[in-house]
């Protein structure tokens, strides 16, 4: 059971924390600014904020099928959570891409006028 939890933790870290480390570095105030004060700059920072939150939420939701009694192989811990994690990460990327588009369009309109 320990190795499974370790692998799940590794996956979650790589989707939620690792991109943040690349963009924000080890500066704690940066992290606080992006994640708890909602002060992410448009661009890489907003992408990692949205995708990190979505991947964690996805992993959280992924725990729901585990107690059901359908007796499937994939209901073991932590398969559904890892799947949820990855799906959440993908949805986060998609959402952040749309968010970027929308915001850039708005900025461009403001620049023009």
């Amino acid at each position: 059971n320990i190795s499974q939890t370790f692998h799940f933790g590794a996956l979650l870290a790589s989707t939620a924390v690792f991109p943040g480390l690349c963009i924000l570095g080890l500066n704690v105030s940066n992290w606080i600014r992006v994640f708890s004060q909602n002060g992410a700059d448009l661009g890489p920072e907003s992408v990692i904020q949205i995708s990190a939150v979505s991947s964690i939420v996805g992993a959280w939701v992924g725990a729901f099928p585990i107690p059901l009694d359908w007796d499937r192989d994939w209901q073991e811990w932590p398969i559904t959570c890892m799947v949820g994690n990855l799906l959440g990460y993908m949805t986060g990327l998609v959402i952040s891409a749309i968010h970027l588009c929308v915001r850039y369009n708005q900025l461009r309109k403001h620049k023009v006028t």
């Binding site: 708890s36 004060q37 107690p67 059901l68 009694d69």
Partner: protein, 891 residues
């Protein structure tokens, strides 16, 4: 709860003869095959206790190999009272009997014992006094022992065995019933794998052997004697019973005759029903089959008697079942009867042949046909065996919903007269339900009155409520949604809704502990995030993002001093909060693996399994001692000297009492008795601590309120009621509670109420409880009691089962003190607690009524309904404390 239709009055040999004679003329009459019968009923005798290869019951096993034994399946609920009724009447009692198990009344219907006494035969009984309450009229001699005192497992059986020498030498009986309770008590106390079980099984084995030898000696020239060995239900791997798992429902059923069988004996492969004993025994003893019987005649047992006798017995069984079918569902038996009549004709034809012409193939053919008729009849009956009183069910559900909506409205305008009408109609409904013999027809006057009053209430609500309800709900949500607590507040609401929805699935009901562990862990993390968020928002005083008009006692006031000097303390505070949350999560993680519960993962090993091994007794004692010390240290911060000493004495007495029963190791204390004296001393200490806060001489510390003292008193009681290995859990809870006490919660009082309720629910499950009746720890009700008295036992049992939620609610009340709530906040808190409990109850009740024919309704949904009801009662009483506290002591 469903209501059954039963025959009133008992069948007589004359009617049986008449009915069978009219269908198949010349059929052989009732014939007695055995002279004396002894029924040895061993409570909680699981099938593998007798049939496993290395069973301690060696002599019985040898006897079984020369005779006949079967594995019988008992119906749910696998609790003693319904099983005794099933063994004597052949009927399938329902779920209500679990509650009625605490007080049984005389059974008026047809049963084997009534038939015996009607035929003038002597029935002698020794054993569980439930039989006496049910059947005392039919016994010639009897003596009972109380079955509820589960800590004794030697005296109960000795009280039965001491009658044996006299009875067996005199032989003055036709049926001797012996009901042994010791094994059941051992199961409840220590489980099926404990070292107490093999000696008990050997004791039972000796009893069986003694009886068999005496029966052989008593057999004279006439009919042989019969010894039946069976169990009423099995036991689960935890030692309790009540559910429908394999080990709880499979019992042995052995027929040991003093006349050896001509055919090969041993254990029959296929499984039979426990109620099949009833028609078989009736036929073997030459008695009419009880009219409410649903069992099939066991062919293996009547094989010895020749084809004519066999077919006659089958005929009588079939007639009885068809009569029952006709009584239960008047039109449904026509189809079966056609087939039955053709079989009867075949039977008559067979009888009309001379003995030389009768072929065994034809007899076999007739046998198969009769069995088919029997199967058709029983399946038709059991399909609609229990009729649900649907009008009453629907009225109840509407009543529940109305009560909930009235509560929602009570905030604004107290609609007093509407409440009165509702209360009166509910009382009327309850009056009807307590005599649940009759099913209410849809057009009955009672139903109409009740529905009319409910409709009146509902229409008044609808007229008044549309605007006010929306306003109220919005205001309530706004109040729990402000500042940094919005994340937590929102999640608390979402979590409650998620949990309510999850109750609609049977897997989530069985594994409800996972839901609560999940939600409580998430809320801890979210709370940490909210705290960090709030602290960071505080760093920028220009961000006036929250209204300070609403009460903001809970947010730290904006630091007026320099920002730089705050940086250092700021990161310190964050570190402190992170540390707090880490401790909470660590304690929660340990509590989660303490006891495995639920259904799917129940068999996995948990920490308790390892702790209660006999080798680890010293380790367990040390661990318990350390936890008790920890509890004392953490609590003494809030108590005065006197109270600390009292608590210390109380905790020590608990340890002493557990050491007396042998569960823990304390030097200089012999393992002698049940530890009643130290337990009572402990009760006294609890009471004294509780009372000491009112004495005028006590100067308690200024920040300590009454509730803290009550909480400390309750903790000692809690430790007393828990099994020794669960006292470490109490230590964990105390650690969590002191951490929460110290840190500031960024939650409104009502959100904090829900937060603490969630902790209570997680604690409920970590103690080992689940949504199945089998996990109720019956032994906890007997702490400090000499004998069985219904009220104290039931009271202590309720306290022990719900100890976790009660602890956390009291902790909440203690915390509430420090939050200095206003009057309106208190209203909100009460309202929130009520809504949290009622919401799940109301939705679940409606759901269960609609799903009453679901596969899992008996095993999963109904026990949960009982637990929810009890939960509602407990929280109601706790809220009464809340109301009393704030309206009497503070005003």
């Amino acid at each position: 709860m469903p209501v059954k239709k039963e025959f009133i009055g008992i069948s007589t040999p004359e009617t049986v003869l008449e009915q069978s004679g009219s269908l198949v003329p010349g059929v052989s009459p009732l014939k007695r095959h055995y002279n004396k019968t002894v029924l040895v009923l061993i409570d909680a005798l699981r099938a593998d206790f007798l049939f496993s290869p290395d069973t301690p019951m060696s002599m019985t096993k040898k006897l079984v190999s020369q005779n006949l034994a079967l594995v019988a399946k008992a119906h749910t609920p696998t609790v003693t009272l319904p099983r005794i009724k099933a063994l004597m009447t052949g009927s399938v009692p329902g779920f209500v009997d679990v509650i009625l198990n605490f007080g049984s009344t005389k059974y008026e219907g047809d049963n084997i014992l009534a038939q015996m006494s009607r035929a003038g035969r002597r029935v002698v009984f020794f054993g569980d006094d439930t039989w006496i309450k049910l059947f005392s009229d039919h016994f010639t001699r009897y003596e009972g022992t109380t079955s509820f005192f589960v800590t004794d497992y030697t005296e109960v059986d000795n009280n039965v065995t001491r009658h044996l020498p006299l009875e067996l030498s005199a032989g003055d009986f036709d049926l001797l019933i012996l009901h042994y309770l010791g094994l059941d008590h051992i199961g409840h106390l220590a489980g099926p794998n404990s070292p107490l079980v093999p000696p008990k099984l050997r004791e039972m084995d000796e009893v069986i052997d003694t009886v068999y030898r005496s029966l052989t000696k008593l057999q004279g020239e006439g009919l042989p004697n019969l010894l039946i060995v069976c169990g009423d239900h099995g036991m689960s791997d935890q030692g309790s019973h009540g559910g429908a798992s394999y080990s709880e429902t499979r019992v042995p059923l052995a027929f040991l005759s003093t006349q050896h069988r001509s055919s090969t004996g041993g254990v029959v492969e296929s499984e039979v029903d426990q109620i099949d004993l009833v028609p078989t025994l009736s036929e073997l003893l030459g008695l009419p089959i009880p009219s409410n019987n649903l069992g099939h005649l066991l062919m293996d047992m009547v094989q010895e008697q020749g084809a004519e006798e066999q077919l006659a017995s089958l005929l009588r069984n079939t007639i009885q079942l068809l009569n029952l079918l006709r009584e239960d569902q008047p039109g449904a038996d026509s189809e079966v009867r056609g087939f039955f009549h053709s079989t009867c004709e075949l039977h008559s034809k067979w009888l009309s042949l001379t003995p030389q012409e009768r072929s065994s193939a034809m007899a076999h053919q007739i046998q198969i046909k009769y069995n088919e008729v029997i199967t058709m009849a029983t399946s038709t009956i059991t399909k609609k065996l229990t009729t649900y009183d649907l009008p009453a069910l629907i009225t109840c559900v509407i009543g529940l919903w109305t009560a909930a909506i009235l509560l929602l409205l009570s905030q604004q305008s107290p609609v007093r007269w509407v409440v009165m009408v509702h209360v009166i109609s509910t009382l009327y409904l309850v009056g009807h339900l307590t005599q649940f013999q009759s099913v209410w027809p849809f057009s009955g006057s009672g139903y109409l009155i009740s529905v009319a009053s409910l409709m009146l209430v509902l229409s008044t609500i609808a007229l008044q409520a549309k605007k006010t309800m929306k306003d109220q709900v919005l205001e309530w949500m706004r109040s729990s949604f402000y500042g940094g607590g919005s994340l937590c507040g929102g999640f608390l609401i979402a979590g409650t809704l998620l949990h309510t929805v999850s109750l609609l699935s049977s897997s989530y009901v069985e594994e409800e502990h996972q839901t609560w562990y999940f939600l409580s862990t998430t809320i801890h993390i979210l709370h940490l995030m909210s705290v960090i968020l709030t602290m960071n928002t505080n760093q920028h005083p220009c961000n006036a993002s929250f209204n300070s008009s609403t009460s903001n006692h809970f947010l730290r006031s904006c630091p007026k001093s320099d920002v730089e000097s705050d940086q250092g303390s700021h990161s310190d505070k964050i570190r402190q909060e992170v540390l707090n949350t880490a401790v909470l999560l660590l304690a929660a993680r340990l509590m989660r693996s303490w006891n495995q519960t639920g259904n799917k993962w129940l068999h996995l090993p948990d920490i308790v399994d390892w702790l209660i091994l006999a080798d680890n007794r010293i380790l367990l004692s040390v661990l318990v001692a350390v936890s008790l010390l920890l509890i004392l240290v953490l609590q003494s911060r809030r108590l005065t000297w006197v109270q600390t000493i009292l608590s210390a004495t109380g905790l020590f007495c608990v340890f002493w009492s557990r050491a007396s029963t042998g569960a823990l190791f304390l030097p200089f204390v012999p393992q002698m008795d049940r530890g009643i004296l130290p337990a009572r001393l402990s009760f006294l200490c609890v009471f004294l601590v509780l009372v000491s806060q009112f004495l005028p001489g006590q100067t308690s510390r200024p920040s300590v309120g009454h509730m803290d003292i009550c909480l400390s008193a309750w903790t000692v009681l809690h430790v007393l009621l828990m099994r020794p290995h669960n006292t470490v859990l109490v230590a964990f809870m105390t650690v969590q509670q002191s951490v929460l006490c110290g840190c500031k919660l960024v939650l409104s009082p009502s959100a904090a109420a829900v937060f603490y309720v969630w902790m209570g629910r997680a604690a409920f499950f970590s103690q080992g409880n689940s949504n199945s009746i089998a996990t109720v720890d019956v032994g906890a009700g007997y702490v400090g009691q000499e004998d069985y008295n219904a009220f104290p036992v039931a009271f202590l049992l309720g306290l022990a089962t719900y100890a976790g939620p009660i602890y956390w609610f009291m902790a909440f009340l203690a915390k509430l003190n420090t939050l200095n709530p206003s009057h309106r906040d208190l209203h909100q808190v009460y309202f929130t607690v009520a809504v949290t409990c009622l919401l799940s109850m109301v939705v679940y009740a409606a759901f269960v009524v609609t799903e009453r024919y679901h596969l899992f309704v008996w095993t999963v949904f109904l026990p949960k309904l009982l637990y929810l009801g009890m939960d509602l009662v407990i929280y109601y009483l706790l809220s009464v404390i809340l109301v009393l506290k704030y309206y009497l002591w503070c005003e």
